[in-house]
């Protein structure tokens, strides 16, 4: 079955990872398409691989969301060695006894579902590293 990433900054395959646009002048990183750097105004960007392991710097356990969004789920910001990434925490109980600030996590892929042509969309999340 063919696959498509949920967002264009997710690279699938044997070694799934995220790609950021890095400003050639100041090194600021962005996940959306760019006209210029919001930090320094530079216009040259290169695609860089974001480290797949990181540390939870903020989270919330969303219990109330739009219809169709399964709750509860854990939304978080993960510091991947200096690059902050937004993503859900997965493969962990969504309660404050199991999710902690500073928790070490790693990127993993999450199936989103198949469309009418049978193409499977794949998203991403972060799961706890063993022993953390």
């Amino acid at each position: 079955m063919s696959q498509i990433p949920l967002v264009d900054y997710l690279v699938l395959g044997d070694d799934p990872h995220l790609l950021a646009s890095e400003c050639g002048s100041c090194g600021a990183r962005f996940f959306d398409r760019r006209n210029a750097c919001a930090s320094c105004g530079g216009t040259e960007f290169t695609k860089v691989r974001v480290p797949t392991e990181g540390e939870v710097q903020a989270f919330t356990i969303v219990a109330f969301a739009a219809p169709g969004i399964p709750v509860p789920f854990v939304a978080s910001v993960v510091d991947c060695d200096g690059t902050s990434v937004r993503g859900n925490l997965v493969n962990v109980e969504p309660d404050p006894d199991h999710v902690h600030l500073g928790m070490k996590v790693r990127l993993t892929t999450v199936p989103v579902g198949a469309d009418s042509a049978g193409t499977e969309a794949i998203g991403f999340g972060f799961e706890p590293l063993e022993g953390s």
């Binding site: 949920l6 996940f31 919330t60 939304a75 510091d79 937004r86 469309d115 009418s116």
Partner: protein
């Protein structure tokens, strides 16, 4: 150019449910009452700035004029998320300060009673075929799949991020709930608040969880309401009656900032640096320090937000927001009373009205007219709002010299 600008008249409507009033009715009620409070007429006003965030671009200023006076003056319809009211006020202040007019009117109004989640409250179904679109080439909706777009969830993370940067030995959920307990206790003295019930810590923590650690009473209350202010130049004020001069409140600082770029700011909104920048400029403009403030109305859109703004507004030493709160400083009998109105969690948050209503609260105390909830002898106060996106408005107000 005007040297100084004053609030001559100001009013907020009762916040809550007004099923029989529309935005024009509410805006007109606030504007007429603010003009009456200022003892002037709509014909004296040289500029009108108005905001109504959910009005889908309708010209609320001109709609208001058609209800209370089409005098032909310029109207600025402004929109700046939850900082819309403060932006309208600042627009009127800038026109006075620039010397273009000697009197201006600012109005903010919102109809929100019964509204649910304001962002992330709906998600369209997935397409039949995965096709990338949007700025991230997403093939399907990302809310709930890549973090959350809901405001309770965004601000929960902002509070939790502070706890990560400033590790706390105690229970974070209870800490944030105690902030909400304070504001709900304060609201019992405010007859214009949408909710005026004292709530126990158990009630707050046991209520419906929205986005951990924010339960429902820890979230700002959607409601209807309007607020309006008349501003005047110092020179014009000197020509007005002794009573008008006595009740006028000095705008010692009026500042609006946006979020400067920082790592992570496009991943999780950073409401900290722009608030700190606004506060710093405001203290410099006013020539006062945080220790001089007799009361503060800050943007507690969620209990998790109030904590970080103690630090951002420099009410405490850097990193000391938790011990500052735990000292009791921000209760109405504390050293720096915060949100004696009940805050957005109980007074309510009719978005565009909020940034003028918090000024009204401060003025009410500085004029010595706050009744049961009067902070005795108040002479200096600060009002703060955050509009996510982001914009921050900070105003410092001072009582007229006797």
């Amino acid at each position: 150019m005007a040297d100084d600008v004053w609030i001559l008249g100001i009013h907020m409507t009762k916040f809550g449910k007004h099923p029989d009033l529309d935005t024009v009715d509410l805006a007109a009620e606030a504007a007429m009452a603010a003009l009456a409070d200022a003892q002037v007429s709509v014909k004296d006003v040289g500029v009108l700035a108005a905001g109504n965030l959910m009005g889908a671009g309708a010209p609320i200023g001109q709609m208001l004029q058609k209800q209370i006076g089409q005098t032909g003056i310029p109207v600025y319809n402004v929109s700046n998320a939850c900082a819309t009211g403060a932006t309208a006020l600042r627009t009127a202040i800038m026109a006075v300060k620039a010397g273009e007019v000697d009197m201006g009117l600012a109005v903010g109004v919102e109809k929100l009673a019964g509204a649910g989640l304001l962002a992330g409250g709906s998600r369209k179904g997935d397409d039949d075929e995965w096709t990338p679109h949007g700025r991230y080439g997403a093939v399907a909706a990302v809310d709930g799949r890549i973090g959350t777009e809901t405001m309770p969830g965004v601000f929960a993370q902002i509070g939790m991020q502070y706890m990560h940067e400033h590790p706390y030995e105690g229970a974070e959920f209870e800490l944030f709930a105690r902030i909400s307990e304070k504001n709900h206790a304060h609201s019992t003295l405010n007859p214009l608040a949408a909710y005026t019930k004292k709530m126990s810590l158990d009630q707050i923590m046991g209520d419906v969880m929205i986005a951990y650690p924010n339960t429902r009473p820890m979230c700002s209350a959607n409601c209807d309401g309007a607020a309006a202010a008349v501003v005047v130049s110092g020179e014009k004020l000197k020509t007005l009656s002794p009573d008008q001069q006595r009740r006028a409140v000095k705008v010692s600082a009026s500042v609006l900032t946006t979020d400067p770029w920082e790592e992570a700011c496009q991943v999780l909104p950073n409401v900290n640096t722009l608030t700190r920048n606004a506060a710093k400029t405001a203290y410099e403009q006013a020539g006062v320090g945080p220790e001089d403030l007799d009361l503060v109305e800050l943007h507690d859109c969620f209990a998790t937000a109030e904590l970080v703004h103690y630090d951002n507004l420099m009410l405490c030493d850097p990193g000391e927001a938790v011990p500052f709160f735990e000292s009791g400083a921000t209760w109405r009998d504390g050293a720096t009373p915060v949100n004696v109105s009940g805050g957005l969690e109980s007074k309510g948050h009719p978005i565009a009205a909020t940034g003028i209503a918090n000024i009204w609260e401060v003025c009410h105390h500085l004029r010595g007219e706050a009744g049961d909830r009067q902070i005795e002898g108040a002479t200096v106060g600060l009002a703060h709002v955050i509009g996510l996106g982001s914009a921050c408005g900070v105003h410092i107000l001072e009582k007229a010299a006797a």
